[in-house]
Amino acid sequence: MSLRSGVATFAGKSSYWFLHTFLHGGSSLPGKITLKLDPQILRSLGAKYDVIVITGTNGKTLTTALTVSVLHEKYPTILTNPTGSNMEQGIVTTFLNAKNPKTGRPLAVLEVDEANVIKVTQYIEPKAFVFTNIFRDQMDRYGEIYTTYQKILDGVALAPNATIIANGDSPIFNSKHLPNPIQYYGFDDQPDRDFKAKPNTDGVLCPNCQHILHYHTLTYSNQGKYFCPHCGFKRPDLTYRLTQLGTQTPTSSQFTIDGHAFKITVGGTYNIYNALAAYAVGRFMGVTPEQIAHAFTANEQVFGRQEVIDVNGKRVTIILVKNPVGLDQVLHMIGTDPQPFSFVGLLNANYADGIDTSWIWDGDFEQLADSNIPTFITGGERYKDITFRLKVAGVPDDKHIVEPSLEKVVDRIQEVPTERVYVLATYTAMLQLRKILASQGFIKEGLGV
């Protein structure tokens, strides 16, 4: 380590110690200080590690946590970045916080924001990249899927020897020829048919000839066994195949990968993709399927986001929603609950939520109206938008309570006829709701997301 890097590292570590000890914080400021002193600090910090970079628009956090659990089965020391610290400063801070490894080359499994991949690969050549997926976010915040993927590729171009482990069901990950070794994972559990994705699906143009892609099988959004009847472009052969999808509930999923049965204690097909990605990395790094199965069941806390809150006898699950694909997946997931439930939709449009609420119209709320939900509640700062969305979806007025105030939403939740309640909320609406639940003693803290 150069003198400059040494000084920078010391300054960063000291600031972390100070922040952590006295202010109970310190996620990115130490990185900021260190970067100021030595912009190339990652070169010396990362040199000791085998780095795995996990990127994509959805599922990064859980895939990273799961991958860490899986790799822990074989590797004792793994460095990883906490949720939300997936930009350059947060990553530098992560390295600064690490205890100096005593022996061997430890692993670092990093969740990296798409645009920040290049800020890592400028200084570190990762051992592997994991591409989860690229879905359109709300575009007032981020770019188009092609721009997003190009940002990732700009970073990958600096690490041509790193193995790419990519979601094979996503056509975009097969759209560019790259020098890197590539392994794909995906779903292979259905018989082949020939159909198109539903009209409102993003990213269905063949990257070769710009005709509309067809599918033999499709999981959700534009992911599946795609092919182009016009030019022959098709899904690549899969290295890791999910061959059977078993029972799904909002809190559990069973499935078979490469002949091995797995169970995870979380619902949602999107989480099965996350598990499949973690499995692929594990296999790539020499972890056995038995060890992976163990890691999936022994680490329930990694699925912590969907905690159940007891609100005077109601079992309330709060789920963050932020973009159309995620929303659709959550709607599908709660629909797998065998028990009756009530539905609450809370919409805000502050910067962290996305200031344009149009995206709720891309969500398939129609599936809710067709199910047997006895009570719907809509609220939040943009309650009018979400209320009309449910009306148009076919939710009848006599089952629909409109309640702008979140305090009153909490009261109303306690009056619904079901024990189970699912609350779908945008980011700031969720924070506000948690604060109210905390002030009424239903949860301990207001901000644990």
Binding site: Q210, S358, D385, F388, V392
Partner: protein, 234 residues
């Protein structure tokens, strides 16, 4: 239902950003209240659009790349789309759809791409800037106020035969200069509004549906449909 209307969702599989599909959902919502059943069909790449087959059309916005593909393909539908428009066919075009009905637009990489020129507007680009935010406009003829969310890089200038959908009360509008937003030509309504437009402005959905009904069933009385109240949703 007593009435049926055939709706063309132009390039619905490619031009579908920002919840624009919500316009189809809102049309359906109000159509039901008017005793009208909608048959919605996506008309996309290499598929024919026959003006005579449809009573109403919707053309949404798209991502830059998809729009360049559509800009090429739509030339094959130019004659029939123009026929549909000229014969009073009601059409709602948003954002990229709006741009492609005009003479040309400037793509993301500065390239000038032709539209079909069925309407007399053209669209320029702006450097490193987008008009993003809530917008309110007022239509001087009807007195109606419309609410939306705009998010566009293009700056559109309407032509002689076109009236604006409204004058900007707050926000940027067509080009941030002349105080207009959107365009109306015959029964074609164009706008940069997302939100989506018909979910926040049911009056426009009603205008489109009434125009389609009167055109398809010229001898029927639609006074009941015209009396349908449209409560505010925004």
């Amino acid at each position: 239902m007593t009435y049926e209307l055939n709706v063309a969702h132009l390039y619905g599989d490619l031009m579908n950003t920002y919840g624009d599909v919500g316009n189809i959902l809102a049309l359906n919502y109000y159509a039901k209240q008017m005793d009208v059943h909608l048959n919605v069909q996506v008309v996309s790449l290499e598929e024919d659009f026959h003006a005579a087959d449809y009573d109403l059309a919707f053309f949404g916005g798209g991502q830059d790349f998809e729009q360049t593909i559509v800009a090429k393909d739509i030339q094959t539908k130019k004659a029939e789309l123009t026929k549909f428009i000229e014969s009073g066919g009601p059409l709602l075009a948003i954002c990229g759809g709006y741009q492609l009905l005009g003479h040309y637009y400037i793509g993301a990489d500065g390239e000038k791409l032709p539209g079909i020129g069925a309407l007399d507007h053209y669209t320029l680009a702006q450097d490193h800037n987008r008009f993003i935010g809530d917008i309110v406009i007022k239509n001087q003829e009807t007195g109606e106020t419309y609410h939306g969310f705009e998010n566009h890089q293009g700056r559109t200038f309407i032509g002689k035969g076109e009236r604006p959908l409204g004058n900007v009360v707050s926000g940027k509008g067509n080009n941030g200069e002349d105080g207009t937003e959107g365009a109306i030509y015959k029964n074609v309504y164009c706008s940069y509004f997302h939100g989506p437009i018909l979910t926040r402005n049911g009056d426009i959905a009603k205008h489109l549906l009434i125009a389609a009904l009167k055109r398809k069933f010229p001898n029927d009385d639609f006074s009941q449909q015209e009396a349908l109240p449209i409560p505010a949703t925004f």
